[in-house]
């Protein structure tokens, strides 16, 4: 799909827990072929304290209703404002942006690892991988059981595993403490991960050690989101590359993450 600037109408805003909200936004233009991992850059205009747009993964697409879903974790002024928006409001959204996850060609066994709100791009990914008949395992890490949202949604497309730092749900510890990262890790053809950088680096390290292909979706501060400001660079083997256009998804081989 070509990138466009659209005024999307808020259809619903469902509060998932104290700091997560799920927005459904309707487009007037026929949506087509959005790739998991792509994102939308949303204008937040109901507050003085936000100037630039805010990037959010496209969480899910409903091609029938012509809507996209955005999972918002409230961490600052912009996300707070968005998580309070009401049905009927209009949001200016630029999407779809960036390069998403690459789809395995042959039937594969894949592991999706999400931490915190980093789970956002993984739902659409799980959905499409599942529809393409890949074998999908999903590992979701959070601080505590209260921080886990939408597990049932993920469970529709694969087996869901969890870790929590306080042990209130699933395995106690970080995602890399989960049994999936044990000696069976090599049975996976590919790992897709998104979450805090430290988590992704740990996942990437184990993927590399076990020679499993791995793609990570990076976060970054962005001014434009479509490749013109050069503010969102990350260090790659080919020098500075823009996360918004060359990413947000990168194969770990492209990145200079050494350990």
């Amino acid at each position: 799909m070509k990138k466009t600037v659209q005024n999307l109408q808020v259809i619903s805003n469902r509060r998932l827990n104290k700091d997560h909200a799920l927005l459904e936004l309707k487009s007037d233009v026929i949506l087509e072929g959005i790739v998991p991992g792509q994102f939308a850059n949303i204008l937040v205009d109901k507050t003085k304290n936000v100037f630039l747009r805010r990037p959010f993964s496209i969480y899910q697409v409903d091609y029938k209703c012509n809507t996209i879903f955005i999972l918002v974790k409230n961490i600052g002024e912009g996300t707070k404002c968005l998580s309070n928006c009401r049905p009927g409001e209009i949001l200016s959204v630029i999407f779809p942006l960036g390069r998403g996850f690459s789809m395995p060609e042959k039937k594969s066994k894949v592991l999706l690892v999400g931490g915190g709100v980093g789970i956002a791009p993984l739902l659409l990914l799980a959905n499409i991988l599942h529809d393409d008949h890949h074998l999908v395992e999903i590992l979701i890490g959070a601080r505590s059981t209260d921080d886990l949202v939408e597990l049932n949604e993920y469970a529709r497309f694969g087996t869901v595993h969890t870790t929590t730092e306080d042990g209130t749900h699933g395995t106690k510890g970080f995602v890399t403490n989960h049994a999936l990262f044990g000696h069976d890790l090599i049975t996976f053809d590919r790992i897709f991960t998104c979450g805090p950088e430290s988590m992704m680096k740990a996942v990437a390290r184990l993927a590399r050690l076990n020679h499993v292909a791995c793609e990570v979706s990076l976060e970054n501060t962005m001014a434009c989101g479509y490749g013109v400001c050069l503010c969102c660079v990350t260090e790659t083997t080919k020098g500075h590359r823009c996360v918004c256009t060359d990413g947000p998804v990168f194969d770990i081989k492209q990145l200079k993450w050494q350990n």
Partner: protein
Amino acid sequence: MAELNIDIAGLKLKNPVMTASGTFGYGAEFDDFYDISTLGGFVVKGTTLHPRQGNAYPRMAETPSGMLNAVGLQNGGVKYFADHIYPGLLKYNTHILVNVSGSTVEEYIACAELINELEHISGIELNISCPNVKEGGMAFGTSCPAAVAVVNAVRKVYDKHLMVKLSPNVTDIAEIARAVEASGADSISLINTILAMAIHAESRKPVLSTITGGLSGPAIKPIALRMVWQVYHAVKVPVVGMGGIMNATDAIEFFLAGSSAIQIGTANFIDPLVAKQIISGIDDYLERHKFNSIKDLIGCLQL
């Protein structure tokens, strides 16, 4: 339709709306959004003689009604531009200027010489005002002798339109403008970003890897307007104004202050379609106020 065309010292623009260097990539990024040949012109990214990796991440900080950047002229160098970017620009039917920076006068000259060969490039915007590189850059724009030296030198080797972009980080912008005019500038554009800083209170660290960076966006509009007004009254060459223009009303203010054309910078990040909308908004304003031509507004502030 009012007359939007304007002649900037020989540079015949179909309308007075250009986009600013560093905020418009090489144009192609906008192909999905609209036909950028409808612009009066656009200025491509800051280009240097040698390739530059730019500064380390983070390069951006959001500020009240504005942002800081410290990109540091990341670009593939003028040779790369000529070989790999230039061919892709031929398809655009509008004026394209290359923004040129350097650390020494010799670098500016060498860069300008190469661009002089590129037929489809209408002019150079000489950047003597970049606050984001250690050597040179802004230093050329904050002292009259340095500005004179670089403008004189480039003028000698460059035949087409030479627009010189001034730094706002000076005590007396009019003085620099006069010096630049006397050295052969065909037009003067201003303002580049204002040297500024952002600190992250929680981590007690500067937000930018370079500590300081350049402030742009609506926050600087009142300063930019004042400087455009001062320069308009100091020189005879056309003035191209910019700094925080977000909509047609802002653009009108710049024409009234003395701009013959304007450039849109940071606003492109917030709305990729903004330049197109500003063109039609200017037209609406002229119609509504019964002016025949954009020329009727330039410098026509009523005192």
